[in-house]
């Protein structure tokens, strides 16, 4: 059940009463600070172009105020753009009529919020059916579908609790169950795990990855945490002052940070979990007794295998068993600790 991708093209958002008037100035290179100082308008998004592949997790990362929430809210048009397009299945979300938009929100998207945004007067079950209720799905069927997801996110037995009887982690599980019950192709998650403790957060990431393996939805995940971005993101875009300053896979970003800002961001990252063996392998002929490691494995896993086997060399093979190159334990460990320069 693969989902379709989302293409964001030349998207601009300028907050203020006369945003449209300043698009050309921004296109001409006016900065966020200058726009605010000279014209009293806030530059929210500046020429965003991102392709969010279908069935994959796209992470949008950036510091506070960089425009992450603004960007994700354009995908279901909770915020109207000043200029630009958001294309899904060949339609521009920004041009939809009110009725089309309502339909799009009901059937194609679901959203999880940083502050959970549950309905405090409804039980877990009643919160979870909300999306289906809005769609007009029959009550019994809606509750049956909701129960399945409540169980899936680990909240079985809490169906009749009210949100404020639950911990933050449990509340966000309700938020996730509510979104998943909608059975929409697009899942929008705005800092969905940011309010949670680190351990619970890891837990929730695992839940999400498990579910994603099965469902292959098009997920847009916002975070300001690089570790989270690298763990979840198939594709990562980094925002600053409303503009994308780099996008690519986690490995691309860690290995080739586009500027000093990103270098700073990635300097403390656990490289062993991000860099693949393919990146550091050489064409040197491996010895006969070399270990076999498959292409795409992370350095950390390779190092673990090598040291457990007491081996020094490993050959890297692809899915069909074809030899691609070789690594040594020294190369692996040094790539994990020092910035690899290529």
């Amino acid at each position: 059940m693969a989902s379709d991708g989302i293409e964001i093209r030349n998207l601009y958002k300028i907050f203020g009463p006369k945003g449209e008037d300043y698009v050309d100035l921004v296109k001409g290179g006016m900065s966020k600070a200058a726009l605010n100082e000279q014209h009293g308008h806030v530059l929210g998004l500046n020429d965003i172009n991102i392709f969010m592949p279908g069935g994959k997790i796209t992470v949008v990362m950036g510091l506070s105020g960089s425009g992450k929430s603004t960007l994700i809210r354009h995908i279901n048009r909770l915020i109207d753009p000043t200029a630009g397009e958001v294309i899904y299945q060949g339609n521009d979300v920004c041009k939809m009529s009110d009725a089309e938009l309502q339909d799009f929100r009901r059937h194609k998207t679901a959203m999880v919020f940083q502050k959970f945004a549950l309905l405090p007067h409804r039980t877990v079950l009643k919160n979870t059916v909300y999306g289906l209720e809005v769609q007009g799905v029959d009550k019994d069927e809606a509750e049956q579908r909701a129960r399945k997801w409540i169980t899936r996110v680990g909240l079985e037995g809490f169906e009749d609790h009210y949100p404020n009887q639950l911990s933050g982690g449990m509340q966000q599980r309700v938020g996730l169950a509510r979104a998943l019950t909608n059975d929409a192709d697009i899942l929008l998650m705005d800092e969905a795990f940011s309010a949670l403790d680190p351990l619970i957060r890891m837990d929730m990431q695992t839940v999400l990855l498990d579910i994603q393996e099965e469902l292959e939805k098009t997920i847009v995940f916002i975070t300001h945490d690089l570790d989270e971005a690298l763990r979840l993101g198939d594709h990562i875009a980094i925002l600053r002052d409303g503009a994308v300053i780099q996008q690519g896979s986690g490995q691309d970003i860690v290995l080739n940070p586009a500027d000093a800002y990103i270098t700073d961001f990635v300097k403390d990252v656990n490289r062993g979990r991000v860099i693949e063996v393919d990146t550091i392998m050489t064409k040197k002929e491996p010895p006969k007794d070399a270990l076999i490691i498959s292409s795409g494995a992370m350095l950390e896993d390779a190092a673990k295998k090598l040291s457990e086997a007491g081996a020094v060399n490993a050959k890297i093979v692809d899915g069909t068993g074809k030899l691609l190159g070789s690594i040594t334990i020294q190369d692996t460990i040094s790539a994990m600790v020092t910035p690899a320069t290529h």
């Binding site: 938009l101 959203m111 945004a117 309905l119 809005v134 009210y162």
Partner: protein, 294 residues
Amino acid sequence: MEWIEFPSLSRETLRDIRVTLDDGFKEFTRAYGETLEAMLEPLKIFLIWLEDLLISSPWIIILAVIVAAVYAGSRNWKIALGTFLALVAIGIFGMWEDTMRTIAMVTVCTITAIVLGIPIGIAMSRSDRLQAIITPILDLMQTMPSFVYLIPVVMIFGLGKVPGVIAVVIYAIPPMIRLTNLGIRLVDKDVLEAADAFGSSNWQKLKDVQLPLALPTIMAGINQCIMMSLAMVVVASMIGVRGLGQPVLQAINNQYFTLGVMNGLAIVAIAIIFDRASQAYGKRLQKHSEVIHG
């Protein structure tokens, strides 16, 4: 000397203005009075029916029903017991019938205020422009001495129950409208955004999110409305509304201290019953917000 006295309009001009306005209004009354009266006929029928029901049923049944209703609403036996004792005392001191009339009057006025006030409050919460227009009108309704708007009401409807209801509703509806508006405006923006994100229509948002979340504030409005209706029964008795207000008025005119105090206390007792019962009911509706995760 010119600076001592304020240069007001001459007596003749002032008189002319008064006469013109009064005549105009009398004209209006003659033209539309009957239509207006006919429009409010159902209200009158309902009030008379309720009053008859309360007075002509056996007192023991009414007592049981009221105590049961208070208990059903509040789930609090102390409030129910207090209600029972207060009503028994009222009966013993010979004020049963007047009390029933007052309860009927307050019930009808409160229902009218709710039926009119909640939609106005909702409309007001959806438009800043409307809020800017209605707020000063509500201020006027609350500060204008009630005797002033009794004049046109009596001119149109004469003396009796219906003008009484109108006067009481004018006085008691502002908190209903204000608190409905406020309650809806205070609903958490994040929750509203979530409702939008799931594609809720305006009506779905209103009935599933805004009204339920505004309910505690709206309940406070209803409570205020009941209290203010009760406070108006004495004034309303001046235009012929029967009930506990009338003996009080009589007591004022004839300086009957004890009569005044007894009827006054009966009004207070009803007020306390209504207040505690409606507040306990409102709290019970909010049960979900009581249990906080430890």
